[in-house]
Every structure is written in C-alpha cells, then in structure tokens.
C-alpha cells in the first residue's frame, strides 16, 4: 500500500542509507538495493531565517530517522508543533524529500503536483487519507 523509498544496504554492516549510494560510508563494498517505509521520527530540525540563494525564508529542515535506521534530510512546510521524536511521514516530490507534518492544503498541493495521470491522482488521494490517519495518530501520541 505505502510506496517504499529507494535505499541501499551494506552487505557487510547492514547499514541502510537514503538516497541510495553505491558504496557504504563505512566499508568500501558495493551496497545492495533496498526499500524503506516512508515513516519515521524527527531526530532534529531547524528553521533558517536567511537561507541560501534559491530558497525562501523561513526554510524548515529536518533530519528524520526512518524505520530500519536510515536517516534522511527533509524539507518541511512548517515546524510548528514538531518535536524531536515526533512521528512523521516522508514523501519525495520531484526527488526532494518532504516530511509531512503538513496541513491538508499543503499535502493536496504536493500530491496534485506529483500525480499526473488520473489513476495516479486517485492513488495519491488514497495515500493522503492514510497519511492523515497516521499523522492524527502521531499527534495523539504526544
């Protein structure tokens, strides 16, 4: 049901990295293709008030630890209510990762941008509902 994020795993130490890399950062061995569920916890986050050229202020950045231990860098549309340890979902839009502690409008915008064909749009809406449920549950946990 949930689309997995492309990752790679070191055959020697079993470390997972996202996005996929050819060699393990800790061993000069070729990594194997893997997939990880786009669900995880916030390791840390920050808001840049003078972001570099090409980014609009305020720029929200987060480091997310996915299930299985891989960590990835994400953008977010807001960090209001986000805490270290918050459960979030992650999705890639045009190969850029967003963590979703997003409002309905933001999520819809991202999905419509991503989903081209009608079939995909319907699948995206389905996923959005799933994520909405997941997010509500996460917020309930805190």
């Amino acid at each position: 049901m949930v689309e997995l994020l492309a990752a790679s795993r070191c055959p020697r130490c079993r470390r997972l990295v996202v996005p996929p890399a050819s060699l393990c950062p800790d061993h000069p061995v070729r990594m194997e293709a893997a997939g990880v569920a786009p669900l995880g916890e916030v390791v840390s986050f920050t808001t840049l008030h003078s972001p570099p050229e090409g980014f609009r202020a305020p720029l929200h950045l987060a480091l997310i630890e996915l299930q299985g231990g891989a960590r990835l860098f994400c953008h977010g549309t807001a960090t209001e209510g986000v805490k270290i340890g918050s459960h979030v979902s992650v999705e890639a839009v045009d190969s850029v990762f967003y963590f979703s502690h997003m409002g309905v409008a933001d999520r819809a915008r991202l999905f419509w941008r991503r989903a081209g064909a009608r079939g995909e749009r319907i699948a995206s809406i389905g996923k959005s509902v799933v994520k909405g449920v997941w997010n509500r549950r996460s917020r309930g946990d805190q």
Partner: protein, 372 residues
C-alpha cells in the same frame, strides 16, 4: 618536535590582500624563531580560489615571502586546514626530511558579500544535504537542538560561552571583536538557525597565522597531534551530539603525548558555534560528559578559572579566518606557555588545541608542553 616561532596578524576586517596577511604572520614567526631560511613551507588556505581568485598558493606565498627556492605544499582539510599544515610539517620533520619548516595559513573573506561567503564555506557540506539549503549554521542548529533534547544543554549555557569568549577577546589585541557582550544581548540577538542566534555564531574574518617548527630544542614542544574523521553527510551519523572526529583525534594526541586530559591547564577550542565549545570540551575529556555547560556557568572555563578555555576569545571573538584559525590557536597556546599573553595570561605548562574541519568531518587535537 619544537615550536621555534609563532606569529599572527590581528584578525578582523583587513584591507590587505591574502598574500600580504600571510606574509605578515610568516615574517613574525620567522623573526620570533630567529630563522629566515626554512627547509620547506606548508601553506594552508581553505578556498583562496573562490575568495580571492588566485591559486597555486604554495608557490604564490613562497614567492611573496622571498622563499621562492623553498619547496612549498598547500594543505587543505576545510576549516581545520591550518592544523593539517602543522601536521604535514610535523610529519616531514619527524620523518627526517627537514629540520625547520614554516607553516602559514590564512583566509581573506570580508570583501565578499555574506551570502557568497556562506555559499563558499558550504562547499564543505555533503552535496546532497547542501542541495536542501543546508548551511553550516543550519547543521549546527540541528546539532544544537539535538544536544538540548538529549544532553540537557541549555540556551543559557551556550550563550554564556559567547559572553566569556567576548570578555577574553576584549583582552586580546589580535581579536576581531574586542568588546564585551551581556548574556541578555546574546540571548536576544536575532535567530539564525533556530535555536542558534547571531551571537552564538563566529564572525567572518580576515587574517593570517604562522608557526616555525624545528627539530631543535626550544621553549615549547608539540607533545602530541592527532586527526580524527567522520562522515561528511550528517545523515550517516548515528549520534549528532558528540563529534567522533574529535574523540578519535584526542585519543591519538594523548597517546602520542603519553599523558591525558588531567595535565591540560589551558585550551583553545573550535567554537565556530558556541555549543561546539561545550561539546568539544566533553569530546576531548577535559570536562566529564554533561558537565561543560555547568562548568561554564560556574566560571571554571574563564580566565582565572580551573581550566581557562579560549583565553584568546576563541573563534567567537578572535575571529575565524578559516585556514588561519587552527594555527592561531597554537600561536595563542605558545604565547600562553611562554608567558607572553599580555592582558590575558594564564598559569599553564600544558595546553590543548582542538580544531574542527567542515561539520566535524576532519578534526584535530594538538597538545603543547612548555619545557621544564
């Protein structure tokens, strides 16, 4: 391995170009050493190509110094490049290749607009993470928030580091900032990368620093020097709140020296962001884990405290002309151990310098000891 001479320019906004700043520092170190014909030259500059447009920096500086016949090498490990050049000189002398090596480092940055400076410094960040808009302050912000959450680091603790280092800088004629700041001013300064504020970040500075290393016995020796490494990508690390690269570097340096943190009486620490001073004090074993914030609030790391840290003002107040910084830490310790740090002198025979390259990807720890 002995330090025969030490010299540096005043850090800050300087009108001179980079070769002139490096020459000023180098001539002071050679004069201090009484040696003007080193066997080799190690030059540290992090990114003179983009900051100044010039390259081939080893030969450029050798010629500028009137040492065009002396073999010169340029060394680079991002923001810790200065110590990398010290290490290269140390290794060359230890290997018996040379007897006297001049080390000089510097950076010229203030003539470049701030966004461009951030971009150039950001070249030392993992390209994938940089593509998300990650800058050095952004990564430091992530680390600081994680340290507050996991280690109980407080805003007041890492703000006090800025207060202390500015107070020290006010006593150092070589410092970029020579004014004290209040805790309130630090905590009210504008947010840069939440929770880091402007006064938690080091300035953009110009400057040069130099050392003359020799195999011949002098007043101060390099007792140990060590390098440690970590992943360039922050997402590959399992712990954000300690720097593996510092811990590894400290272990190597202490082993080489044959003594541990207990003998260190003064330290120069890489406080590019003030929480890094607290993290680094614990990574080097100078303060027990979780105690650096409290020790700072209690004045233990102030001049006159149990362990003075950054009597120079540190990167925060002395300034941070990238490749000059690591060398300037050792220059300061030399002066401290030789009783020549007027206005900020501490009582010490052993000093430790810690330098961070990139976002703690390539760190160094150096131990200096005054001759008995």
């Amino acid at each position: 391995m002995w330090i025969a001479g030490a010299g540096m320019t005043r850090f800050g906004r300087r009108d001179e170009n980079l070769p002139d700043l490096m020459a000023e520092a180098a001539l002071l170190a050679m004069e201090d050493a009484g040696i003007d014909q080193p066997d080799a030259l190690m030059v540290a500059a992090m990114n003179p190509e983009e900051f100044t447009g010039a390259g081939n920096y080893g030969s450029l500086i050798a010629t500028r110094l009137g040492l065009s016949h002396v073999p010169a090498v340029r060394v680079e490990t991002a923001t810790s490049s200065g110590v990398a050049a010290v290490y290269a000189a140390f290794a060359a002398i230890a290997a018996g290749l040379h007897r006297a090596v001049l080390v000089v480092g510097g950076e010229k940055m203030t003539h470049v607009p701030t966004p461009r400076v951030s971009d150039i410094i950001g070249r030392s960040i993992d390209p994938h993470e940089k593509s998300y808009g990650a800058t050095m302050p952004a990564l430091a912000g992530l680390i600081t928030r994680a340290a507050m959450h996991r280690r109980g680091l407080t805003l007041k603790e890492f703000s006090q580091v800025a207060v202390k280092n500015h107070a020290n800088g006010a006593r150092n004629p070589f410092a970029h900032f020579q004014e004290e700041v209040t805790l309130d001013a630090v905590m009210a300064s504008r947010l840069v990368a939440d929770p880091l504020r402007l006064f938690h970040c080091c300035p953009i500075s110009d400057g040069g620093a130099a050392l003359l290393l020799t195999a011949d016995r002098r007043a101060v020796r390099i007792a140990g020097i060590g390098q440690g490494a970590d992943t360039i990508a922050i997402r590959y690390r399992t712990d954000l709140t300690t720097f593996r690269a510092t811990q590894a570097a400290a272990e190597v340096a202490y082993r080489m020296a044959g003594f541990g943190a207990e003998r260190v009486e003064v330290a120069e620490i890489h406080d590019a962001f003030t929480p890094f001073e607290l993290i680094s004090l614990e990574d080097t074993g100078l303060v027990p884990p979780g105690k650096a914030g409290r020790a700072t609030l209690d004045g233990e790391t102030a001049i006159g405290g149990r362990l003075p840290v950054n009597p120079s003002g540190g990167l925060k107040a002395r300034g941070h002309p990238l490749a000059a910084t690591g060398i300037s830490q050792i220059v300061e310790l030399c002066w401290q151990l030789r009783g020549r740090a007027e206005g900020r002198q501490v009582e010490a025979r052993v000093g430790l310098a810690q330098s961070i390259g990139g976002l703690a990807t390539n760190n160094w720890v150096t131990l200096l000891e005054a001759r008995r």
